[in-house]
Symmetry: C2
Subunit: 228 residues, 2 copies
DNA sequence: CAATAAACTTAAGCATGCTTAAGTATATTA
DNA sequence: TAATATACTTAAGCATGCTTAAGTTTATTG
C-alpha cells in the first residue's frame, strides 16, 4: 500500500507522463518501468515508486511487473506539457532567433513553469501554429494533435527523387548544430542522389550544395515528396 | 549543528536571498528571520532553518536571535535573480504586449528557470535595458545596479507641480490593473493638483483627465519633476 | 529587577523524489 | 521442468523544505 498521500502534479510527474506518452506512441503494449527509468536516467526503483503514485492519481494504470499505460487524464496532462514545450520552442525561435539546437533544453524547463494565461498569449502571438520549428505537431488546447503529413525517413527515401524536409528529430544537439551550420531548415528542398550500400550513407543536395550524411544523421530527417 | 549537507542553490534559496536583499535595501541592520518569514509567507521555524543552510553556504552571515545579512556572494545571487526577473518582465511586455499587472507573477517563476545563455539573448534582444517597465533598475550581468533618478513618492510631492512617473511599485496586481485601466504608463505626465488633509487623498491630472487616488494608491507611484 | 510577553530557535515529523540493497516474479535455457 | 538469469518491486534511508509543538532568549513593563 502507498505510504503517503499523493496530491499534486509536479515537474517530475509531468516528465514521467510526457516520457510515457512518447514511449506509447507506436505501440499499444504497456510501457515497462525499466524503459522509463532508462529514458529519464533514474533507477527502476524510482520509477516503480512513481508508477504507484501516478496510478493513485488515476493518471495511468499500473500492473506490477507488467508496466504502465496512460489514462485519458494522464494523456491530457502529457499532451498539455508537450504543447507548452513546442509553443515555447516556436516562440523562442520566432522572437529571439534561436536556432534548432538551442531551443530544446530551454523549453524543457520552461514547459513546467508557464501559466495557462501566458501560454494562451504565446499561442495567440504565434497565430495558433499547428507545427513547431522541428515540424512536430503542437497539441491544441483541447488536446487534439494536428495530423502530420505522411513523411518518410531519409534513410528510406527513393534515390533520384527530390523531397521537402518536413520534420527533424532534434534529440541530439550536436546534430542540430551541424544542420544549422549547413543552413538546412524546415521545408528545405533536398534531393537524394545516391545511397552507399557499405554503410547506408546518403548523398544529398540541398540548396545546390552536395552533402554526405551517415545513416545515423540521415535518420534524423523526415521528408515528403516534392511534387504533391 | 547542521543535520545534513547543503550544496545546491535552489528556487527556495534564490527566493530567500532576493527577499533579504529587498529587506536590506534601506537599512544596514541585519534582517530578522520573522520579517523574512512574513514576506515569504512561511513559518519562522522554516526561516531559522534556512538561515543556517544559507550561512553554511557563505551566502549570508547569521547570528542567532540577531538576524541575517547577505554576504557578497549572497548579494550577487540575489542581484542575478532580480536581473532575470526584470528582464523577463521587460521581454514579456515588449513581445506579447502584456500589461503592468500581468507580468510579475509570470516573471516570478521564470526567473528561477532560465539559463544564462537565454538570459543573455533576451538582454541583447532588448538592447541591454537599464530599467524595466515599472521603472526598476535591471542589475547588469556584472552585478551593478543602474542608478535610478532621484524620485519622490507621490504622497510626498508638492501641490501645484507637474511630474513624470518614473517608477511604480507593482506588488499589488489589483492596483496595477487599475492603473492600466486608467491608461497610466511609465513616463506619463502627472500634475498634482491638491491633497486632502482628511486622509491624504490626492487629486491629480493625467492626460488631461482628473483622478483621485487614496494615499495607499498614491504611495505606489514615484515621480520626478517635469522640468529637469 | 523579576515576571511576563514577544521573538526566535530547536526538535520531531512529513511529503516529494531520489538512491542503494535486498527480495520477488518472470523469462530463459539446459 | 528445475536452475538460473533478468526484470522488476519493496524497504530503508537521505536531501530539501516545509509544518507544529516545545523550548530558549531577548525585550518590556510594573
Amino acid at each position: 500500500m502507498l505510504k503517503f498521500i499523493v496530491t499534486m502534479i509536479t515537474i517530475s510527474k509531468e516528465d514521467y507522463l510526457k516520457e510515457i506518452y512518447a514511449l506509447s506512441l507506436f505501440t499499444d503494449e504497456p510501457v515497462s518501468t525499466s524503459k522509463i527509468a532508462e529514458k529519464l536516467n533514474i533507477t527502476n526503483a524510482a520509477t516503480s515508486d512513481m508508477a504507484k503514485k501516478l496510478s493513485a492519481l488515476d493518471l495511468l494504470s499500473y500492473e506490477k511487473y507488467k508496466g504502465v499505460k496512460l489514462t485519458e487524464k494522464g494523456r491530457t496532462i502529457a499532451l498539455n506539457t508537450i504543447r507548452r514545450h513546442r509553443l515555447w520552442e516556436t516562440f523562442l525561435i520566432k522572437t529571439l532567433g534561436l536556432n534548432w539546437g538551442e531551443v530544446h533544453d530551454e523549453a524543457e524547463v520552461l514547459e513546467h513553469q508557464t501559466s495557462e494565461f501566458l501560454m494562451d498569449r504565446i499561442d495567440q502571438f504565434l497565430n495558433f501554429p499547428e507545427f513547431d520549428p522541428h515540424g512536430d505537431p503542437i497539441p491544441t488546447k483541447e488536446g487534439l494533435m494536428p495530423v502530420l503529413p505522411e513523411v518518410v525517413c531519409l534513410t528510406e527515401a527513393e534515390i533520384g527523387k527530390t523531397y521537402i524536409i518536413q520534420k527533424v528529430d532534434h534529440d541530439n544537439k550536436e546534430v542540430m548544430d551541424y544542420f544549422t551550420k549547413l543552413g538546412i531548415e524546415l521545408y528545405s528542398e533536398i534531393a537524394l542522389e545516391d545511397r552507399m550500400k557499405f554503410d547506408n550513407s546518403v548523398f544529398v543536395s540541398i540548396n545546390n550544395i552536395r552533402h554526405t550524411f551517415s545513416q545515423q544523421v540521415a535518420s534524423k530527417l523526415f521528408v515528403v515528396n516534392k511534387n504533391i
